[in-house]
């Protein structure tokens, strides 16, 4: 009797586990079989920060005019960084609930593609080129990170560089004007010092140090340094130029006292708007916050030239996971989200559009007199280093940069240790 009861319990348990696992559906992967009548229900991972409910509804209404039988459900995945975001999507895949189409930035495309999680879209492009809405309109350089080993994994939707944002009220108070395009490290330090003030107990710092991988990488590029080598097989953080830049960041806080000590939850955009800082380096994304807060006292300029002047870029697209049950429908959605209508709807005041036609139309409306810094850098920008092990590399870099900025280590020691750890990760 006891044995029978135990057997029943085990069977119930096994049934429970089986019910929790996902079913492996057959994959209709024939590109030629897709038609506009195909019925499909797709899951899209796209945050409301990129596209609000109203914007997504608008895009999907237009999408459904072309493809009335494709239903799209949005899932929002919130991550504290790109690495964190990609980890959560990987966990969804591992948990047996993979979405169909995901928003992926350049930082994650290698990781997803090299793990064979993405569907190459070239056959679908050949079978249904109309869905692409004029592929030649996409900026080739910005699209290039999504073509890996000759296979296309998405159609670039947005991009960002890193430029300097100025609170123009603070510039006026300090008697300064927007610096020229070719301003130098010395000019930058002078600006930071003049903009650091204290009036009636209210402190303003000249500059907020970027404490995230993309932002810090932009400054490393400008000092002729980088986190990784070109082949992304070893770290270059022990390079004297990289150490010099990180030491300069530390000095801005503790020697020159022109930058606040960073805190984990700092919001530099908010700090610039409320006058706690006068300069910060960021892409175009803060303009969406500026617009919401009706903040107009802002202008932009290229980062100062240190040893060189290289502009960084990061871009994003909507790849299709190869586990999708509806590859043709997912391709159509991926293409539409990267298309003209989607970009015009979502990128008016946030990231920079990647369609040349939309860039020309949208960028002049940027509420900053020097908005050309965004369009001028597309052709010369260098992609942020994003190896397959991006999440690990980002985490190690941020940890050691945190030590430097907290004055718990000098730059040379921290960067040497960071290099050792990153090299170990890149080996595996």
């Amino acid at each position: 009797m006891r044995k029978i009861l135990m057997l029943c319990l085990i069977l119930v348990w096994c049934f429970t586990l089986a019910a929790c696992s996902s079913s492996n559906s057959s994959n209709n992967s024939d590109p030629a079989s897709g038609t506009n009548d195909e019925k499909a229900e797709l899951t899209l991972v796209w945050s409301k920060g990129d596209a609000s409910d109203a914007q997504l509804k608008d895009i999907l209404t237009e999408f459904n005019k072309l493809y009335p039988n494709i239903k799209v459900n949005r899932i929002e995945v919130i991550g504290s960084s790109w690495g964190d975001y990609f980890n959560k999507i990987q966990t969804m895949i591992a948990g047996g609930n993979p979405p169909d189409v995901i928003r992926v930035a350049i930082e994650g495309i290698q990781m997803f593609a090299k793990q064979d999680l993405l569907l190459p879209l070239d056959e679908y492009m050949a079978a249904d080129p109309d869905a692409l809405d004029n592929y030649d309109d996409i900026h080739k350089k910005l699209q290039s990170p999504f073509v890996i080993d000759g296979k296309t994994y998405g159609f670039v939707w947005d991009w960002n560089n890193v430029v300097m944002h100025f609170n123009t009220d603070k510039l006026k108070e300090a008697g300064l004007s927007l610096p020229p395009k070719d301003w130098t490290k010395d000019d930058f330090l002078t600006y930071a010092q003049k903009l650091t003030t204290e009036k009636d107990g209210k402190k303003t710092y000249g500059f907020a140090i970027p404490t995230y991988y993309f932002g810090a990488s932009a400054w490393l590029f400008n000092n002729d340094a980088s986190v990784l080598d070109d082949a992304m097989t070893t770290s270059k953080l022990d390079d004297p130029n990289a150490i010099e830049l990180m030491q300069f960041f530390q000095d801005l806080i503790y020697k020159y006292k022109v930058a606040p000590v960073p805190n984990p939850k700092d919001d530099a955009t908010q700090m610039l708007m409320n006058g706690q800082i006068a300069m910060m380096s960021a892409g175009k994304w803060p303009f969406s916050t500026y617009a919401k807060s009706k903040f107009t006292s802002v202008d932009v300029q290229f980062l100062p030239t240190f040893k060189t002047n290289k502009v960084i870029f990061g871009s994003g697209a909507f790849p299709v996971l190869n586990s999708t049950k509806y590859p043709d429908a997912a391709y159509k959605l991926s293409a539409f989200l990267g298309g003209v209508y989607s970009q015009k709807t979502t990128l008016s005041d946030a990231s920079i559009p990647t369609r040349i036609s939309v860039m020309k139309e949208v960028l002049p409306k940027t509420p900053a007199s020097n908005w050309q810094v965004y369009s001028d850098s597309a052709d010369i920008a260098k992609a942020v280093e994003s190896p397959v092990q991006y999440a690990d590399v980002e985490s190690i870099f941020n940890r050691y940069m945190g030590l430097i900025l907290a004055n718990q280590s000098d730059a040379a020691t921290a960067m040497k240790k960071a290099k050792e750890e990153i090299d170990q990760v890149l080996k595996n």
Binding site: M1, R2, L5, L9, V12, W13, T16, L17, G83, D84, N87, Q90, T91, I93, A94, Q115, L117, K203, Y205, P260, V261, N263, P264, K265, D266, M271, Q276, A391, D392, S395, R399, Y400, G402, L403, L405, A406, N407, Q408, S409
Partner: protein, 295 residues
């Protein structure tokens, strides 16, 4: 079916839901962790048996010593804080004060437990800001300048302890408060007639009668602080560097950032064994000071 068999059947049926939950959510993950600790598994590709490699890596891991040391520091700071101050708060509210005031204090002390951790941690994080935080502003009025709450490997523990106390003291308080309610008033009356003072009544009635609850709070707090994750994760992110990273945060990093499920399981087993040993010791010593005789 005999009566004994029927009784057994009924017994097992009553037991089944709890047993099922135990098997699925406790036994199965523990066994899976044990098996995974002998494998290399990145959740995307199938696992591969690698023998004792993860255990070898465990003893060669430079960061483990620091995260265990950090966790021990959290245990040593937070456990007395919750166990002692929770009791003091409960005793203060238990005093003969107006009923309405009692309800008010109970709500005030327990309310933070109900608040969403991520939201309140963000607020505390702004308060701890070295340059623009309200805590440093008030301290500056007394001539204390710029405490680096998040930047110093020493101050960071105080920041986490303050947040943890504010957020979770309500739990210990509530357990003690319930325990105090269950002590018969007649015992105090009898002691008072016999001439016992406040301290004598506390030492000879309150503490012995409350000892099972004290033991419960001590065990759960110690287990909770050994597994600490939310407070440092939300307030400091484990920084600066690894200065406030706990073992659980490190396991999370290995499992869900590096996707090394095998090694993460190995570290989890080490933490499990550590907690098991501490709890066993506590139960051993409890015989000497915990009294279950409530008559």
């Amino acid at each position: 079916m005999t009566k004994k068999s029927k009784d057994l059947l009924v017994g097992y049926l009553f037991l089944a839901p709890a047993l099922l939950l135990f098997l699925v959510f406790i036994a199965e993950p523990v066994i899976a962790s044990l098996i995974l600790s002998f494998t290399k598994y990145n959740v995307i590709t199938p696992s591969k048996f690698i023998g004792l490699d993860n255990f070898k890596a465990f003893f060669e891991d430079d960061r483990l010593g620091l995260v265990y040391w950090n966790t021990l520091k959290f245990v040593l700071i937070l456990t007395p804080l919750h166990v002692v101050l929770g009791l003091l708060l409960a005793l203060a509210v238990q005093r003969k004060i107006a009923k309405g005031l009692k309800y008010f204090y109970r709500t005030v002390f327990y309310f933070p437990v109900l608040a969403t951790s991520a939201a309140v941690a963000t607020a505390w994080s702004f308060m701890f800001n070295k340059e623009f935080g309200i805590l440093n502003y008030f301290l500056s009025l007394f001539g204390i300048e710029g405490i680096p709450w998040m930047q110093s490997p020493n101050w960071v523990y105080l920041a986490v302890a303050i947040y943890s106390f504010w957020k979770f003291i309500g739990n210990a308080f509530l357990y003690y408060f319930i325990g105090l309610q269950n002590i018969p008033e007649t015992l105090y009356e009898a002691a008072e007639i016999d001439g016992a003072g406040k301290l004598q009544r506390f030492m000879n009635i309150t503490l012995p009668m409350l000892s099972p609850m004290l033991f419960f709070v001590l065990v759960t707090t110690l287990i909770g602080t050994t597994q600490i994750f939310d407070e440092p994760y939300l307030i400091t992110g484990g920084g600066p560097g690894d200065a406030s990273r706990s073992v659980n945060m490190y396991i999370y990093e290995i499992a869900f950032q590096k996707h090394q499920m095998g090694y993460a399981s190995t570290v989890s087993i080490s933490l499990f064994l550590a907690i098991l040993a501490i709890t066993a010791l506590q139960f051993g010593f409890s015989k000497k000071w915990v009294s279950y005789d409530q008559e």
